[in-house]
């Protein structure tokens, strides 16, 4: 009898354990368990930057692409963000393979460069100079030759006797180069049917003469639809300031904090770290080198690693910023005298970069001896609105740029006095 009682009690204990586990299982199926496991004040949703697209794509994607089918004509993809994303998604593999299998480059004449552009080819315009090794590493390859220091803003994959050669132009020195690759032309041949000619042409191909405008400016025959855009200051939205302070290792309880006459909020910590937050959505950070955030370490000292670290910092700081606009790398340059890198990011909406009235983009960083010494962030959300904006046709804009001795032509959205308008800008 006693044995039976003990046996029954054991069964009851087992049943209790089973029912407890079953209850936990059913609670998790019902989603009730998550409410208890989240820390107080924390959302149960995953906190990730909202910027779509991988960091790799962001850092290797050009601003414009042209698909040239020889005499049949050319399709220029400019100021159409989605179309550019799709085209680059289809071509990035070939570009990476071309870079990775490229042979030792040889300098070529401008005639050879222009013949390549005008033949069966695909053309990538990064607008700003990029180190070829940055593009290669971003695409997961390494060139078989030392490409660090080889810079280009324009790249081209062109057919050569059934194969594919890689061409690029260093716009600063105006020297073009060519490398053989291991690719057949068939690697990109599929693209010509997908992008039929739309009348785009390079400046050097047009009947009018440009003395100042870059000969390799891709000029569209007809502008795509340019939508109006609205902007919102997001600096004081949600917990943006708290997040920024944390990212920059500024302790709000230790730092001195005061407001300037114009309302700018200033944090000063340790005498060498300053963060200014103004009412217009700008955050400006300064810090002396050899302290604070290290973006470049001995273990990962490539430009690719630096660009990646900068991207992580900026996208985390601006999260979930940008609205519908994407954050894209605009420039990365190095000053060997100061041993300092300058890295810039733009908001880009519909393939069109967005700038403030002062000409600044989404973010700019200065990294000296591996340490972050300056950071400017523009806290904005941008949303496209219905309808379309009237924009001067590119050929006419090119003529105006030529009159102003402008070498480069770019359509941007400019935010000025709470309005965002599309306008052409020229640069030397």
């Amino acid at each position: 009898m006693r044995f039976k009682t003990v046996h029954i009690e054991k069964i009851k204990t087992g049943a209790i354990a089973l029912l407890a586990v079953s209850a936990l299982f059913l609670m998790s199926r019902a989603g009730l368990l998550e409410q208890f496991t989240a820390a107080p004040g924390e959302s149960t949703s995953t906190h990730r930057p909202s910027q779509t697209g991988s960091a790799t794509l962001v850092m290797t994607q050009p601003l414009f692409i042209a698909v040239s089918n020889g005499e049949a004509g050319r399709c220029g993809i400019k100021y159409e963000g989605e179309k550019l994303r799709i085209a680059y998604g289809e071509l990035s593999m070939a570009l990476g393979e071309a870079l990775g299998s490229s042979g030792e480059p040889e300098p070529i004449t401008s005639d050879q460069w222009e013949r390549a552009l005008s033949g069966s080819s695909v053309f990538f315009d990064y607008y700003y100079m990029r180190d070829l090794s940055l593009i290669a590493e971003g695409l997961g390859v390494q060139t078989g030759w030392d490409s660090s220091g080889s810079k280009a803003s324009l790249l081209c994959l062109a057919e050569e006797a059934g194969g594919l050669a890689l061409y690029w132009l260093d716009a600063e020195t105006a020297q073009a180069y060519r490398s053989a690759t291991a690719l057949d032309f068939s690697r990109i041949a599929f693209i010509f049917d997908q992008y039929p000619p739309n009348g785009a042409a390079f400046a050097f191909e047009l009947p009018e003469t440009y003395a100042h405008l870059s000969a390799y400016t891709l000029i569209l025959n007809a502008m795509p639809e340019v939508r109006p855009v609205t902007a919102k200051n997001t600096l004081y939205a949600d917990d943006a300031v708290e997040r920024l302070l944390k990212l920059l290792n500024i302790n709000p309880f230790v730092a001195s904090r005061y407001a300037e006459a114009d309302g700018t909020e200033v944090y000063v910590e340790g005498g060498d770290k300053t963060l200014r937050l103004d009412g217009d959505g700008w955050a400006v950070f300064r810090q002396s080198s050899d302290s604070g955030l290290q973006l470049l370490t001995g273990a990962s000292s490539t430009e690719q690693a630096l660009a990646g670290a900068a991207w992580e910092l900026v996208s985390d700081a601006l999260y979930p910023g940008g609205g519908q606009a994407r954050l894209e790398l605009s420039n990365l340059s190095y000053d060997p005298v100061l041993d300092a890198y300058t890295i810039g990011f733009d908001y880009v909406l519909g393939g069109i970069p967005i700038r403030s009235a002062s000409g600044r983009g989404a973010a700019q960083l200065t990294v000296e001896q591996g340490f972050l010494t300056a950071l400017e962030l523009w806290f904005r959300d941008f949303e496209p609105a219905d309808g379309s904006q009237t924009v001067l046709p590119e050929r006419q804009a090119a003529a105006l740029a030529e009159q102003r001795d402008g070498q480069r032509l770019l359509l941007i959205y400019e935010e000025r006095a709470d309005a965002v308008t599309a306008k052409w800008v020229t640069a030397r």
Binding site: R29, A30, G96, E97, L139
Partner: protein, 274 residues
């Protein structure tokens, strides 16, 4: 109160709690299924009001889709090449392109999974039943075949057999391998293969079919395209590759229309282009 009585009370409480939670989960699941069914019916009406006749079976509920990440294994790749070409030499061309050459033919394999194999004329595979020949070679290349999508085209003495790869019996729409025959001789194999080893696996929550159809409609509107028939909606996968990194097997819905096929990412709803 002795221990036995306490246990009885705990048992009763836990039993009641389990009953309550089971009812809650069942009711919740039932409500979700009902909502999905209603949303699908609404979406069907919207499509029909747009002049799109629906001949596809939309009532199907696809099974769970496992998200996998694949990675290239150069050693295994060589073995697979040898299974088709016999003894080969290997050359790294850079850009993650490997070139294999032997007496039977040559091949180029890329980091993305794309490959081409060319047979020397007199060493080419011969077979009157070209589909069977192609299927046998797919087996040698360790690529399971999704038979319902097999395509055969003939022109000017050239026959192209296109086979689609399968994973977990689902079609991988961009794992397409083309076998080009001239007369009875197989001259070229080209396409994309799954990379060599699965390095991770997760299960993902997929969008319901009504949301997928909404994205399909958005894609039609964005393109300004017109279609009059929705013939099939099938869940499968595509490989999304990077050159040097991993390949992700991503679930997509293939929406077959009378105009063309659309591929809608079953997790994000984005339109995918193959």
């Amino acid at each position: 109160m002795n221990g036995a009585k306490i246990k009885n009370i705990i048992l009763l409480i836990l039993a009641a709690l389990n009953l309550f939670l089971a009812a809650f989960v069942w009711r919740d699941g039932h409500a979700v299924k009902r909502a999905e069914k209603e949303a699908l019916a609404d979406m069907t009406r919207v499509l029909q009001s747009r002049g799109i006749a629906i001949t596809a079976d939309l009532a199907q509920r696809p099974g769970e889709f496992r998200l996998r990440v694949y990675r290239r294994d150069p050693e295994r790749e060589v073995q697979l090449v040898k299974a088709v070409l016999g003894a080969v030499t290997t050359e790294d061309l850079g850009g993650h392109i490997y070139y294999y050459a032997g007496d039977v033919g040559m091949a180029k394999y890329r980091g993305s999974g794309d490959f081409e194999i060319y047979f020397n004329g007199d060493m080419a595979h011969k077979g009157a039943d070209k589909v069977k020949t192609a299927e046998a070679l797919m087996k040698r290349m360790s690529i399971p075949v999704y038979s319902p999508m097999t395509e055969v085209s003939e022109e000017n003495g050239t026959t192209v057999v296109t086979l689609y790869g399968a994973i977990d019996k689902s079609c991988v729409y961009n794992c397409k391998v083309r076998f080009t025959f001239y007369a009875d001789s197989l001259l070229v194999i080209s396409g994309r293969r799954p990379l060599d080893k699965a390095v991770s696996e997760t299960s993902g929550e997929l969008l319901d079919l009504s949301t997928v159809l909404m994205r399909f409609l958005d894609a039609l509107n964005a393109e300004g395209a017109v279609c009059s028939e929705l013939r099939e909606a099938q869940l499968g996968g595509i490989f999304k590759s990077s050159l040097a990194g991993d390949t992700n097997l991503t679930p997509v819905w293939r929406i077959e229309t009378d105009v063309k096929d659309y591929y809608i990412n079953a997790i994000t709803g984005e339109v995918e282009f193959l």
